[in-house]
Amino acid sequence: MTAGGNKLLLEHYRTMRRIRSFEERVNELFVRGQSAGSMLHMSIGEESIAGVCRAMEPGDSFTTHHRGHGIFIARGADPKRMMSEIAGKSDGYCSGKGGSMHIADMTLGALGANAIVGGGIPHVVGAGLSYRNRRLPHVSVAFFGDGAAQQGILYEAMNMAALWKLPVVFCCINNQYGMGTRIDRAAANPNLHERAIACGLNGLTVDGSDVEEVHDAAERILGAARNGTPGFMVINCYRFYGHARLDKSPYREESEEVEGRKRDALANARKKLLARATADDAMLMQIDDDAEAEMNAAVDHAVAALPPPVDTMFRDVFAEGEPPPRPLRHHLSMILGEGR
């Protein structure tokens, strides 16, 4: 392994450690009743998406899903604004309108996180059309799970991307579970990349416990997509915890979970870094501590941040400058009030 490769692995480790810490802190926020609402899907076990995000260029865009916190972190989002959004606060990424499942940051090319399974997939086709028509060198990446891979919209989108040779990548994070249904109970052929090959895309599956393998594959797939051959990559990994915070996973054996959690890209990267003497324990502990401190600060920030004023609920239904919807109280006053 080259020195450059080792340095990159250290960078992956730092990103994955920040994701892990972020998700653990979000979990605590939820347990303490300080997150907004009932929806919280942790991406622990999926941290090697850091390899795909590292292969993306500035200007590239992506869509993601309800389990997408890690992707935002890896693309450079601010954990404070993410945590604030998850807590429903006014300085969150979406001013407290979106929450955990709908974070977006246009400055990072994030076209939004989607809570409809598969809902964001076709948007990358349109982004690809925009880039093609305006001769921009960007790629658009759709991140989604093995659950979404069973939705019909994926096949419409893959066909269009291949037909029109668009700069598009479909990245399927196969954590083995669509909510409580394991992939072998949802897909007749669980080799999902074969479906993409049948549609005319570059298709491959990588071991999600090895972030270097994920990154190498993503470099190849994104490079080909940038040149007009769209791609599909499956990252095989394991969802360490339940579907959502309150799910105790009654549909799977504890022994399976113990085995599954061994497919840990973060732990594997640590082992490799030590074995290659790229880093020593102290150095990695420093990275761990920095990540913990950063995410603790994000939680403190979110807890202290102000909730949005109630009248902001009418904002952003339509574009700025357009008349907002009529509030109910205004409507009622027109019927019953003095000025009728």
């Binding site: 309108k97 979106g98 246009m106 076209l111 948007h123 349109g126 028509n133 700025e320």
Partner: protein, 334 residues
Amino acid sequence: MAAVETTYREALRQALIEAMTEDETVFVMGEEVGRYGGAYGVTKGLLEMFGENRVIDTPIAEAGIVGAAVGAAMTGSRPVAELMYIDFAGLTMDQVANQAAKSRYMFGGQIGVPMVLRMQGGTGRSAAAQHSQSLESWFTHVPGLRVVMPATVNDAYHLLRMALKCPDPVIFIEHKGLYVRKGTLDTERPDGAWGQSVIRREGADLTIVTYSRMMFEALAAAETLSAQGVSAEVIDIRCLNPLDDETLIRSVTKTGRAMVVTESVMTSGFAAELSARISERCFEHLEEPVLRVAGEDIPIPVSPALERGAVPSPQLIAETALWLVRRIAPSWAA
């Protein structure tokens, strides 16, 4: 440019050509919009004028078409996606109602979706139950969408031009029975502002509120009524959501009687929304209940004889108006 006589179809086509000429981020996509020229001919000749990157023939994949349009709109393009029939909207509703409509809001104003989704609906061509519906209330029920339904040739042109400057997703619903209808197009004079309801005929005895093809049926009925001494005011809503209710409330305040006419089926239709707004706001001015004259609560049958009976006719509108205003019961009255 002076006003010219043309068709609804040509007016739409002209609006697309002008918008695509002025703004190179505008492109059209849909089934058969290119080589075929559009199932109803609206995009005829555009492929030759603008090339296949901007006039995109798609596979038969409605959800994918709308989804791609959403993504294109998010990334600096201004797509015009076409659904061949409004009846196919069922295949697209996630992309329309959850993606196009809600992105700006969910993402705190960061992401706009300036797209136009053209489709056509309605009866009149014996196209049967899956190609003849009036489904506008599916869309008016979703905050974040703008829904417009042009009736006149001039509106076909101007509302489409305005839709293509709108920063929000616009559901643009044409009527299959209007494409060959002739009228006056004056590119410099719209019938009204974006979002505004328009009085198509002034009257004193009752207000008929309507839109799309039924506007012409209502005007025909108003003509019949006039011969019988009843003066009907006809209001064309044009833009269903957001709705300019002030124009119709002023009218009903004046006439004291209101009838809402739609081609869509009555139950849970947009006629109910219009009726509720009039009832709430004009309660003390109303002489009679607000009536809905809407499509029968049935799927659209194919036989022309049955199809005609399934939606309001000028005769039905006129007879109901006489009943409402003069208490003259029609022959079918129970």
